[in-house]
């Protein structure tokens, strides 16, 4: 562990607090920075430090196991606690890395998409969103989860609305997102309130202990569970509560879309895992029933419906947005089967899909940046005009479909195996079917890009016009990552298995 020796001890110990404090403070400072270039630089440095911190925390966690950080030295259940364990360490790394990558990309992208006087606030909101996401992941306290959920959500509404400079429809999308997101957050906080009523504590570990003593608790905790599932379901775009998602993804500025797609829904899904398996427990019949019938049922319907919808989209970003809804279905399926292997597979898909979808949206952004492409038919000849961008898009697209030696294949095959082991053969069939649907909607675009010649403008064939290096670099990092995960899946699978074992108490 030579890497850990390089990290000062205080960072390892106070890292969890540092993770959310740093972006919070820097957001305030960034907002008033006069120069947009300085704003970018400060965001860049902050995210770089966050990435480093997240990595060292994750490594430290792998070495010493779960750690509990007491805010201000106050011990739970009275004080606020931050928890790092096998479940949230990978998500922290994911959020930090995706933030870092999108910030690099944001440099050229914001110049094209955000008005100059809005750029410093843009970076501030971005930092706030990071702080909120990291906060809700590390927090060990249910109410603080809500607080950070709101911090991240409100900053995200702002970020989505900033897409108005490019497309006015961003405003209505942001409004829609605001209303529905608030409903989701409200449902969540109502659920937490009921839980507090039942257990008399807000600390999640305490709640879990007391609920277990009460053997699942009374009707109050049932209602609490219902509200929490629906609230988080809205946040993670569970079908049919995904109405806010396609608009928000399609019209937000590109870096925001990529960041949202790879982190926001994932953090909400992390919370769902935390609540269903950690605070509550699938051994309570009402939890088991909801998992089995609601999450799996909606997950599978979502996989099919959203995939079909993606096939018919004419706007590429909306297509990928619907595909995200479908992919959430895979994760819910994994959660719903509720065996160690299936939860691990769902968790793995959460991480892999973040990498894949983030990269795809980055590639789409680069295409818009150069050629203003938003529709599928504009893809014709992109294989020649933007070969590198299209190359990354192809790799990531195939990974989304689940071609062997890509990240998508690893998680899908693990999920299919877990379903088969549990005897859910019909689910294996659904996974195959939706993979074929994914092949159709991705293949449609790829065919257009590689087998049609570039369009002509005023009688001249469009020249090659590759995206700038600062856009290519982030998307290729993700494309290569998805292949590396596909070839050498061991580390990721181990991390996912450890998380699942922690959740199901089988480790």
């Amino acid at each position: 562990m030579s890497f850990l020796e390089l990290i000062p001890d205080w960072l390892l110990i106070h890292g969890p607090a540092f993770l959310m404090a740093l972006p919070l403070i820097m957001a305030a400072i960034t907002a008033i920075l006069p120069n947009k270039r300085v704003a970018w630089a400060s965001t860049f440095i902050v995210t770089a430090i966050l990435t480093l911190t997240a990595f060292s925390i994750a490594l430290y966690n792998a070495e010493v196991g779960s750690t509990l950080y007491k805010m201000g030295g106050w011990a739970p259940p009275h004080g606020i606690s931050l928890v790092i364990d096998a479940l949230n360490a990978p998500v922290i790394v994911l959020i930090a890395v995706m933030a870092f990558i999108t910030v690099i990309y944001a440099m050229p992208a914001t110049i094209a998409e955000i008005k100059p006087n809005k750029r410093a606030p843009f970076y501030a909101a971005f930092l706030l969103s990071i702080a909120g996401l990291l906060g809700m992941v590390v927090s060990g306290d249910a109410f603080n989860v809500f607080v950070f959920l709101e911090v991240s959500s409100i900053s995200t509404y702002v970020l989505v609305a900033m897409g108005a400079a490019r497309d006015r429809r961003a405003l209505s999308a942001a409004y829609n997102y605001l209303i529905l997101g608030s409903i989701g957050a409200t449902f969540f906080v109502i659920g937490v309130g009921f839980l507090y009523m039942e257990t008399g504590t807000l600390n999640m570990a305490d709640m879990a202990r007391i609920l277990a003593d009460m053997d699942g608790g009374s009707r109050v905790s049932k209602i609490a569970f219902g509200f929490i599932v629906i609230g988080l379901g809205l946040k993670l775009a569970m079908f049919p509560l995904h109405a806010w998602l396609p608009g928000a993804y399609a019209y937000a500025p590109t870096p925001v879309t990529a960041f949202l797609a790879s982190t926001a829904t994932k953090a909400a899904l992390y919370l769902l895992l935390r609540f269903t398996f950690f605070v509550f427990d699938p051994s309570y019949t009402y939890v088991a029933d909801v998992l089995m019938f609601v999450l799996v049922g909606l997950g599978v319907i979502g996989m099919l419906f959203a995939s079909l919808q993606a096939i018919f989209q004419t706007d590429v970003r909306r297509m990928l947005a619907f595909s995200s809804v479908a992919q959430v279905g895979y994760m819910l399926l994994g959660v719903g089967i509720a065996t160690t292997a299936s939860v691990a597979a769902g968790y793995l898909h959460l991480l892999n899909h973040a990498v894949i979808k983030g990269g795809l949206f980055l590639a789409l952004g680069a295409m818009w940046y150069r050629f203003g492409i938003t529709r599928t038919q504009d893809f014709q000849g992109l294989g020649q005009t933007m070969p590198w961008t299209m190359g990354a898009f192809t790799i990531l697209g195939l990974s989304l479909v689940g071609v062997p030696f890509t990240a998508g294949f690893v998680s899908k095959i693990n999920l299919a195996e877990a379903a088969a082991d549990a005897g859910w053969w019909w689910a294996v069939g659904i996974i195959m079917l939706t993979s074929i649907l994914a092949l159709i909607y991705i293949g449609r675009v790829l065919l257009m890009a590689y087998f049609q010649s570039p369009p002509e403008v005023n009688g001249n064939v469009v020249d090659r016009n590759e995206a700038p290096l600062m856009m290519l670099f982030p998307m290729w990092v993700l494309a290569i990552a998805s292949v590396v995960i596909g070839v050498e899946a061991g580390v990721m699978v181990d991390a996912a298995t450890r998380a699942a074992e922690l959740l199901l108490g089988t480790g």
Binding site: L234, V294, F312
Partner: protein
């Protein structure tokens, strides 16, 4: 070398040859390609030697896991190593023989084909075996297509039959592995399970069981000159390996093999196309091997291994000599050849030696090995198969030993005066000739062949006893005598220009009739179904579009109010579930 690079011991040497073939597909320089064609089999042979030296007798490597299936892509043991060496040697000889031919397609497909055969016999599990099984078929069909326009249909038939064989092999392998707890290692299969029967049938197609043999006589004579030589070396011998590995000692193979030795004799005697004669004789030789595998004793299996080894060499020699003749004269029809010994003396000598080898004349290749199989049949009291094989041996003498050289180089003078074969063909034939004699030489010759044989014998078989030599000579002279007598009294079927159809009639004539009738019916039917199909598919597509497209019902922008009501509804559903949860 292998010590420095341990990875080499994990990679199937055949894959290097395939890689060389792939490079050749892109290489526009003829000389460089030829260098690959010669060097790749030498390199592979060298690697096999090195790897075999690491763990003599049983080397396993290249293990890959695909989910629950473990593949062992490399196995070099006492049985497979013989085939490995043999195929490398054959690859080198074939490469030299084809040196004059400037054709990228031949070079690359020959290399891929050779490599697939090497990789196939050195594979340890049934999945790799299947992949190589199909690859040999797919890569070799190009060699047939190089034979010209008239070879196209034969190539398609060849490909169809072999792909079918591969599919049957895979199906059988999966059934067999499933019955054995998911173990895909390719070892003794046996006929206790339906999977075993399916695999036997797949191998039967490739080795040319009676009734399943038609592709061989159909395709081989139509391939290009070098193509036939290359084709005759690998496919069937690969299948013999698979049979020896999976079905040694299965009683049914004795009879199948015995019949297989006999029936081609009749066809070969009346056939006019000499390459087709050789294809029948190839079929007959394979019969001896199948029969030996069926007997299954150590002596018989050693005989089979030895027979395979020398067979590839002398059969190749015969095909090469006829190929050389065809290269110079443009035909291989017995009715149009004759008297060529004047203009192609070296080729004539090589052909005679090849003929002597196949006929098992003492001091020539098959004398030792064929005798082992026959002796094994007698030791195990299989007298009727023994007699059938004896008859077939005489038949071999008749059609390959006498007919082929006689009608080509002697008989009535056709008046053709051509040049001697090119130097590279002569070199290749010379190498083969050397092995034909060396591997049967009584002192220090056949003992080397024995050293390769995989099974331990209590007492090594001694071929050169007075009894055996005398018996064999009598048999051969009787055959020669019969031939002379028949020729003398003009009873021997005259060489006629005709194409003889045997069982391939079933698909070349009857099958064609059925196919054309069916296609006419299908045309009529498809007009009707087409109309129905467009209507149904159109309706389904429209329905899907109406639901899911951006303009469709599912994509209507959900107002936030409606979405909020939906959220509440869903909450209600969840609460109901919880309320009624037991």
């Amino acid at each position: 070398m292998i010590e420095q690079v341990p990875l080499l011991a994990e990679i199937n040497p055949g894959l290097w040859v395939i890689l060389a073939g792939l490079i050749c597909t892109l290489l526009p320089i003829g000389h460089a390609r030829k260098a690959f064609v010669i060097a790749a089999p030498i390199f592979a042979g060298f690697l096999i030697f090195q790897i075999n030296g690491l763990n003599p007798g049983a080397h396993f490597g290249g293990r890959l896991n695909f989910g629950p299936v473990e593949l062992t892509t490399l196995r070099i043991d006492k049985l497979s190593v013989v085939w490995g060496y043999l195929f490398c040697l054959a690859g080198i000889i074939n490469g030299i023989y084809a040196l004059h031919e400037k054709c990228r397609m031949t070079d690359s497909s020959a290399l891929i084909y050779t490599g697939a055969a090497i990789a196939g016999v050195l594979s340890g599990d049934m999945i790799t075996l299947f992949i190589m099984w199909e690859l040999t078929a797919i890569s070799s069909v190009f060699l047939i297509w190089k034979g010209g326009d008239h070879a196209y249909a034969a190539g398609v038939r060849y490909l169809a039959i072999h792909v079918l064989s591969g599919v049957m092999l895979l199906a059988g392998a999966i059934m067999f592995a499933q019955a054995n707890g998911g173990d895909f290692m390719f070892n003794e299969i046996g006929l206790d399970s339906p999977g075993g029967w399916l695999m036997l049938l797949a191998m039967g197609i490739k080795v040319g069981f009676p009734g399943l043999h038609m592709w061989m006589q159909d395709a081989y004579p139509k391939a290009s000159i070098t193509g036939t030589v290359i084709l005759a070396s690998f496919t069937t011998k690969f299948a013999v390996y698979a049979l020896a590995r999976g079905f040694a000692g299965e009683e049914i193979l004795i009879w199948v093999g015995a019949i297989m030795t006999c029936f081609p004799v009749f066809f070969a005697v009346v056939e006019n196309d000499l390459r087709r004669v050789l294809a029948y004789s190839l079929n007959n030789q394979l019969g001896f091997m199948v029969c030996g595998i069926g007997i299954g004793s150590a002596l018989a299996l050693n005989g089979v291994v030895g027979q395979v080894f020398v067979h590839v060499i002398f059969k190749g020699l015969l095909f090469m000599s006829i190929g050389a003749v065809m290269y110079r004269t443009g035909t291989a029809k017995a009715s149009e050849l004759g008297g060529l010994f004047r203009s192609m003396p070296y080729t004539a000598v090589f052909c005679l030696i090849g003929a002597a080898s196949i006929a098992a004349v003492p001091l020539f290749a098959a004398f030792v090995t064929k005798a082992m199989i026959l002796a094994a049949a007698v030791y195990d009291h299989h007298y009727i198969p023994f007699l059938m094989m004896l008859f077939a041996s005489a038949g071999v003498m008749e059609h390959s030993g006498i007919k082929v050289p006689h009608f080509t180089f002697f008989a009535h003078d056709s008046g053709r005066r051509v040049k001697e074969a090119p130097w590279n063909m002569l070199t290749a034939m010379g190498i083969a000739t050397f092995f034909c004699i060396y591997l049967a030489w009584p002192v220090g010759g056949y003992q080397n062949l024995y050293a390769l044989m995989p099974y331990e014998l209590d007492k090594a078989y001694v071929p050169y006893t007075i009894d055996h030599v005398v018996f064999q000579m009598q048999l051969l002279f009787a055959a020669i005598f019969a031939f002379t007598l028949l020729k003398r009294f003009k009873l021997y079927p005259a060489e006629r220009r005709a194409e003889i159809l045997d069982l391939d009639w079933t698909y070349r004539k009857m099958g064609l009739g059925i196919a054309s009738w069916a296609s006419a019916m299908w045309d009529r039917l498809s007009v009707q179904t087409g109309r129905l199909k467009t209507r149904v598919l159109g309706a389904a597509g429209r329905r899907l579009y109406q639901t899911f497209s951006p303009a469709g019902a599912a994509s209507e922008a959900t107002p936030s109010g409606l979405a909020a009501i939906m959220t509440a509804g869903l909450l209600f559903v969840v609460l109901m579930f919880e309320y009624f949860a037991k």
